[in-house]
């Protein structure tokens, strides 16, 4: 794989020479064919992922902006209920928190994968 591979007798170190000599090329045995069959369409999955995430975020932002005062009141209402010990209503927030967590996790995963 070197541009200029060393010849065994040019290698001064006997360990290097032994290591070089112990390399035996592995036969393909259908490996390339298996890889080619497993290849996804190039580029499309990422576009789809970003598209889905982007549109979900956009839709969420639009809904939030359109309903901002009501959403604010809802949060305050939940806090009022929490202060009075009505936890059943407060638990209603759980799906929202789980949903936001999942979204955040997805974004972080995508970012890590891309890096």
């Amino acid at each position: 794989m070197n541009d200029k591979p060393l010849k065994a007798d040019e290698t001064p170190d006997p360990i290097e020479r032994l290591l070089r000599e112990s390399v035996t090329p592995l036969p393909d045995d259908g490996f390339t064919r298996r890889v080619m069959l497993a290849l996804p369409p190039r580029g499309r999955p990422d576009l789809l992922r970003f598209g889905l995430l982007g549109s979900a975020l956009l839709a969420g932002a639009v809904v939030f902006l359109c309903r901002a005062p009501a959403a604010g009141e809802t949060v305050l209402e939940f806090l009022r209920h929490a202060r009075h010990g009505e936890w059943v209503l407060v638990l209603g927030l759980a799906p929202v928190i789980v949903g936001l967590g999942a979204l955040l996790w997805g974004l972080v995963s995508v970012a890590l994968e891309e890096s």
Partner: protein
């Protein structure tokens, strides 16, 4: 006429030619699979599985290959990332966790039976995974120390130390 890696890469990127990528897979399957076979201590099934994931990931991320280094260095880097990723689930594959290094050092310190000369492959298996990776990349696959450091994502000094230590241990075990 044999195409260079750069020609094949250009064909994949410009015309999404899967045959050009197939040629790259054929060209590099042996060194990548052999490297992973060494790192998985001879588990051919696991090594081939990791090698397949390496090439699939390379296909997906080909546009991120800058072309400043050799394609093989970039490919080994992906293989090592796949190995690290798999090692999160399978601790036998870890090659950086201190407890595993310690276990490997114990194995490495173990003296072979007196009068018995190990063969190169046995000796390689007795090295710590980090030493083995450095030696296989540099001495068997012709990567420079800088390229190995890039592929392993570790400092250059660490690679040089691992190569030196690995050679020293092998020299002793092989009685050279």
């Amino acid at each position: 006429m044999a195409f260079s890696d750069a020609d094949l890469l250009a064909r994949v990127l410009q015309s999404e030619d899967p045959n050009a990528f197939g040629e790259l897979v054929r060209r590099y399957q042996s060194p990548v699979r052999a490297f992973l076979l060494r790192m998985t201590r001879g588990d051919a099934h696991q090594a081939d599985d990791l090698a397949q994931e390496t090439f699939v990931r390379a296909w997906r991320k080909l546009d991120q290959f800058r072309g400043t280094g050799r394609f093989s260095t970039w490919l080994f880097g992906i293989a090592i990332n796949e190995l690290r990723s798999r090692a999160r689930r399978d601790r036998r594959l870890r090659f950086e966790a201190p407890e595993d290094l310690a276990a490997d050092m114990d194995l490495a310190a173990e003296r072979p039976n007196p009068g018995v000369r190990l063969d190169v492959n046995d000796a390689l298996q007795r090295l710590t995974p980090a030493e083995r990776a450095a030696l296989v990349l540099c001495c068997q696959n012709g990567l420079t120390h800088e390229e190995a450091a890039q592929a392993l994502n570790c400092p250059l000094g660490t690679v040089k130390t691992n190569v030196l230590r690995g050679k020293e241990k092998m020299r002793k075990w092989l009685q050279l």
